[in-house]
């Protein structure tokens, strides 16, 4: 199963909601809050819906609200993906 990477997240966010407020989308952004990167709740909703379309990974509504950094988001998406493929 292909892992959902930070690059994937950066690309989808950029596509759904424009460039982040960060010098580059790299390791440094992992623990920065989405809101500090300039992404609001709709940007995250758009992103989860795009991930479902592209990767077939479904992130439940209830979980999204607590995923406030790229690291938390990535971990959750990959957990869901792993649980699904088991």
């Amino acid at each position: 199963m292909q892992r959902f990477s930070n690059d994937d997240l950066g690309r989808i966010l950029r596509d759904c909601a424009g460039e982040a407020d960060a010098p580059a989308w790299d390791e440094d952004v992992l623990d920065t809050a989405f809101t500090d990167l300039g992404y609001d709740s709709i940007a995250i909703l758009e992103t989860t819906s795009r991930i479902q379309q592209e990767f077939g990974i479904r992130v439940e509504d209830e979980a999204v609200a607590d995923l406030d950094t790229p690291r938390a988001f990535l971990e959750h998406v990959n957990d869901v993906s792993a649980a699904h493929s088991e």
């Binding site: 609001d40 709709i42 909703l45 758009e46 819906s49 509504d61």
Partner: protein, 383 residues
């Protein structure tokens, strides 16, 4: 109205509406989107109720003001599927464009229907401020009378948003409820287990009249539009800050205009959409203005029963508020069984309450950041 099975939210509050039974002709039904039909039928009803008719209406001094959030979206949705061959063609086929397509694109066609059938030839406006359109259209109508642009205004709102595109976009932002199993109890404003709004549809229109004009002809007066204000939150197109500051500002301004203080408001008709953020936001706004009085002023949400008909709901709520004054009874918030601790006001749970009701504050909140407040005063109207 369509198969909801592919959608997250699959329930809605639909009107049992037969345009022919309501007196529209085949030709009218043929050219009007459902939203225009709602507006037309509501206009006929309010005119009949007012005692004015085509002969007695001062045509050139009668204006029209109709609110709608999404206009003729049902027709646009359907016709797009036709011209694009269900989304297969980007450069869509003009041969399949129906003659009324421009009228569907531009919702000013809705007010045209109201003006034509009533004979109103004064200023006409479609007010489209999202989900506050229904309050704002009445506010606009009252302002036109105050400014002397008209003696009579047919004002109100309509929306018919139960179409695939609207349901899909509310699914996407998760504003509507996913609780599809028990439709009647799915709209639960202020309840701990509320999960979003239920889409609705409909319309309500009013005859607004300059007070002297109404008295001279011996009209029955339901209430006075005593105050109206709108503010923007300038925060987010869909999000609300929990502090309710801008709605509070609109309420304060509307009360000032009405020369009423918070002690004199008998009932608050809430926006109460049943989304997590709205109900908190609104509760905070009312507390900000009313202070301790917030806890003893009944406030309820009609959307618990009729759903959220976007631009129309503000006018439907004004109609309910007018009836609350008429009947000295305030409507309940249905389905409110366990209040959210953050929503700790008197929301008139489950059953209507008989109480002296002379003054009502109705508030609304809409995408785009719109915050509106309208004050009705039933005192002195017939005196």
């Amino acid at each position: 109205m369509f198969d909801p099975s592919p959608y997250r939210s699959q329930i809605a509050a639909e009107c049992d509406f037969d345009p022919y039974r309501e007196g529209l002709t085949r030709r009218e039904v043929g050219r009007m989107d459902r939203v225009a039909q709602f507006a037309a039928v509501s206009a006929d009803q309010c005119l009949a109720d007012s005692g004015l008719d085509a002969r007695t209406l001062p045509r050139e001094r009668t204006g029209t003001s109709v609110g709608t959030a999404v206009g003729c979206t049902m027709s646009l949705d359907h016709e797009y599927a036709v011209v694009s061959d269900e989304g297969r063609e980007w450069t869509v086929d003009p041969a399949y464009g129906v003659p009324h397509l421009f009228d569907y694109m531009v919702p000013s066609s809705i007010v045209r229907e109201v003006a034509w059938r009533s004979g109103a030839e004064g200023p006409a406006a479609v007010i489209s401020t999202g989900c506050t359109s229904g309050l704002d259209a009445v506010g606009h109508g009252a302002a036109a009378i105050r400014e002397g642009a008209a003696d009579v205004m047919l004002a109100g709102a309509a929306d018919a948003p139960i179409s695939p595109i609207t349901v899909a976009c509310f699914d996407a932002i998760k504003a509507t409820t996913p609780d599809n199993d028990e439709p009647e109890s799915a709209s639960r404003p202020f309840d701990l287990r509320r999960s979003g709004f239920v889409l609705g549809e409909g319309g309500a229109m009013f005859v607004l009249e300059e007070l002297g004009h109404a008295r001279r002809r011996g009209a029955r007066i339901y209430a006075e539009v005593a105050g109206f204000a709108t503010r923007s939150n300038a925060y987010h197109m869909t999000g609300l800050r929990p502090d309710g500051r801008e709605m509070a500002e609109a309420v304060r301004t509307a009360l000032d205009q009405a020369r009423l203080n918070t002690d004199q408001i008998d009932y608050i008709n809430a926006h109460g959409s049943g989304t997590k953020q709205n109900d908190r936001h609104e509760t905070a706004a009312v507390k900000r203005v009313f202070g301790d009085r917030a806890y003893t002023t009944p406030m309820s949400s009609l959307k618990s029963m009729v759903g959220h008909s976007l631009g129309a709901i503000g006018s439907i709520e004004i109609a309910a508020s007018v009836l609350a004054i008429r009947n000295d009874t305030v409507p309940p918030t249905a389905n409110l069984r366990e209040a959210d601790p953050e929503c700790d006001l008197d929301y008139v749970p489950l059953t209507a309450r008989e109480q002296r009701t002379d003054t009502v504050l109705s508030v609304g909140s809409g995408f785009g950041g719109f915050q509106s407040a309208l004050v009705l005063n039933g005192k002195g109207g017939e005196g």
